[in-house]
Point group: C2
Chain length 384, copies 2
Amino acid sequence: MQYLQQSFNVRFSYEVFFTRNLFESANTRLTGFLSAVADPAFQKKLLIVLDEGMLAHHPLLKQQIHTCLSAIPGFQLVPEMITVPGGEQVKNDDALLFRLVDAIDQYKIDRHSYVIGIGGGSLLDLVGFAAAISHRGVKHIRIPTTVLSQNDSGIGVKNGVNYKGKKNFLGSFAPPAAVFNDEAFLTTLQARDWCAGMVEAVKVALIKDAPFFEWMETHADALAGGNMADMQYLIYQCAALHLQHIGGGDPFESGSSRPLDFGHWSAHKLEQLTHFELRHGEAVAIGIALDSVYAFLLGWLDEPAMKRILQLLKKMQQPIWHPLLEKQAGGPSPVIAGLEEFREHLGGRLTITLLRAIGKGEEVHELDLELLYKAVDICKKNQS
Amino acid sequence: MQYLQQSFNVRFSYEVFFTRNLFESANTRLTGFLSAVADPAFQKKLLIVLDEGMLAHHPLLKQQIHTCLSAIPGFQLVPEMITVPGGEQVKNDDALLFRLVDAIDQYKIDRHSYVIGIGGGSLLDLVGFAAAISHRGVKHIRIPTTVLSQNDSGIGVKNGVNYKGKKNFLGSFAPPAAVFNDEAFLTTLQARDWCAGMVEAVKVALIKDAPFFEWMETHADALAGGNMADMQYLIYQCAALHLQHIGGGDPFESGSSRPLDFGHWSAHKLEQLTHFELRHGEAVAIGIALDSVYAFLLGWLDEPAMKRILQLLKKMQQPIWHPLLEKQAGGPSPVIAGLEEFREHLGGRLTITLLRAIGKGEEVHELDLELLYKAVDICKKNQS
C-alpha cells in the first residue's frame, strides 16, 4: 500500500487534406469528412471563425460556407460566423480569446461539435487555444489560408496566445480533428506573405532533407514568381516533413530538443522587437542566415554550403540581416541578449540546432558570443 | 498528393504515493522523487501553491517545506510560497488564475520545473489548469489534503475553473507528474468534510466493486467516527478504482460515456443552486440516492439493494434529499430542469449511469420525468 502506478497511452490521429475551392458545391472534402463522423443519435454543431483580412479577398466566402455546411445530416451550422482580425495582433488581445470562449458557451458547442478556424496561423493558434480550454477541449478543424500556416503552423499540434508581451506564453498541445489546405486561398496573398511563407520549407529541408533543398534551389525563381504548381509541391513536402517529425519524436515536447526551431531563437526576438513588422518567415530567414554563418565560422558547415543557403533565401526575396543583430550604443544586441529568454521558452538546458551540412542538423548547448557577432557582420556584408 | 495522415501515441505515466508527514525530515518520498528526476545540466525550479484554510491548521508547514525542499541538488525552491483561499470559490476568480500564471512567468518556471499544489480538490484544479496552459504545460505535482481529493479529484487527469457560473467550463486534461497523499492532512479536517469525502468511494463501489461496498457497510460506523486505518483503506481502494477506470478506458473522454459521473448530473446542479453550501460529496450523496431509487422504480435495482444504499449514505452522515429536487411553485424542480445542461457538459447524447445491482452500472440515454419525481418523494420519506 505504498503507491499506485498510473500509465496509459492516448492515440491522436488526423488528416491533412490538400484541395482547391473547398466550399464549392462540387467539392466534397469537408462535407464528406463531416458526414463520416455524424452520429444519428444527436446533432453536432459547427461554429465558424474567420480571418477578416482573408475575408476581404473572398467576399462570397460566408455565403459559400453557408450553402456548403447548412445541409449536412447530423450537423447544425451556427448562423453567426465570427470574424476576427488576422495577423499576430489577434494573439495579443485577451478579449478576442474570451469572445470565442463565450461563443462556444452561447452556441452550446459541446465536446462532439466542431469549431472551424479559417485564416492564417495566428488566427488558428487563437481558435485552437479557445477550443482546447473550453469544456476541457472541443474539437477544432483548421483551414489555413496562408503558405506559412499550410506548410507549418496550421498543420501541427500546438496552439497559443501571447501574454504580457511573451509570445505563446499561454497555450497547449491539442491536435486538430482535421486540416484542409485549400490552394485557392493562396492566390490572393500579398507577394510578401507568399514568399516569407516558404522560409519554413527552407528550414526543414536544411535540417532534414538535402534533396528538397536542392529542389528549392532549382525552382527558386518560379516559386518567388508565383508558380502555383511548384508552391503546392513545396507546401506538401514541407508539411510532410513537419508531420513526420512531430509524430515520430516527442509530439508534446517533453524534452528540451526542438530541431524544428532551427533559426528561431533570434527570429522570435526579432519579431517581438520589431513589433511584428517583420513577417515570421522573414525573421526566420534572418535567423537561418545567422545560424548558418555561425556554423560556418565554427567549422561545421563548408563555405559553399553556407553561401548556397544565403543565396536561396535572397532568391526567395528574404532579408538575411537586421540592424538589431548588431551591438547597440553601450550594450549588446538586444536580439542576442534574448538567448536566455529562448532557453526559458524551451525550458531546461539551452538547446540550439546548427547545421553540419545541408540536410543535417545537430544540437549545441551554448553559443560563442564573439563568433556570433562575427556571423552578424558576414550576414550584413552578404545582404546586398 | 491528396492527403497526409498524422498518427501518434503519447504515453502518460505517474505514481500516486501514500505517506504520512511528507515534509518531515525523515520522509524521503518527495525528495527521493525529485532527486530521481534531477538533471545535472541545469537547475529545475519548484513553485509552491498552498491552501490558506489548510495552512491555518498546519502553521509550521511553510517552514517544513522550506527545510525539506531547499537543499535538493538540481532544484531551486522559489522563496515565495503562494497562498490562495481553499474551496470552490478559488475556481470562480479569474484573478487567482492569472496570479498563478504571473508567478510562473515571474519565477521563470519552465517546462522542466514543477508547480506543487497543496490543498483540496478546488485548489488542485486551479493550480493544474494554470500549469497546463503556461508554456503549453509546465509540470505539476499534486499534494491533496482532503479525503475527496485524495481518493478522486486530486489523483486524476482533469483540471478546471468555473466560467460565468458554469462549473469547469474552462479546463483541460493534464496528468500530474506525481501525486502524494499524506494522511496527516486528514487529521485536521472538519468532520463534515471527512464524511462527505467518502461519498465518491460509495459511488465507485456501486458501479464497479460490490465487495468494496460491503466492506464500507461493515465499517461505516468506524469510518464516520474517524477511524484513520479504515479511512486509509477506503482512500486507497477508491483511488485504485478511479485510476483503473481512467487508464483502462478513455482517459481524455473523447466519448459521451462517463460512468464515474454516476450520481453527478443532479449533484453539479445542486452545488451550483446552493452556491456550494452543500459539499460536493453531500450533493453526490443526494444524486446517488435519487438515481438509485429511480433505478429501483425502473425495475433495475431490487428494493433491499436500494435500501442498503440509502442506509450506507445515512450512516456516513450524508443527506439523501434536498428541497430543490421538488417541483417549485409554478414550475419544475430547478435541479431536474438542469438535465440538458448536464448533456452539454458531457457533450453529445445524454448519457446517465444507473444501477442494475450494487457493483454494476449501466447507461441510459433518457430519464422519465414522472418516475424521477416519484424517486424524489421516496428519498424525502427516507431522509429522516
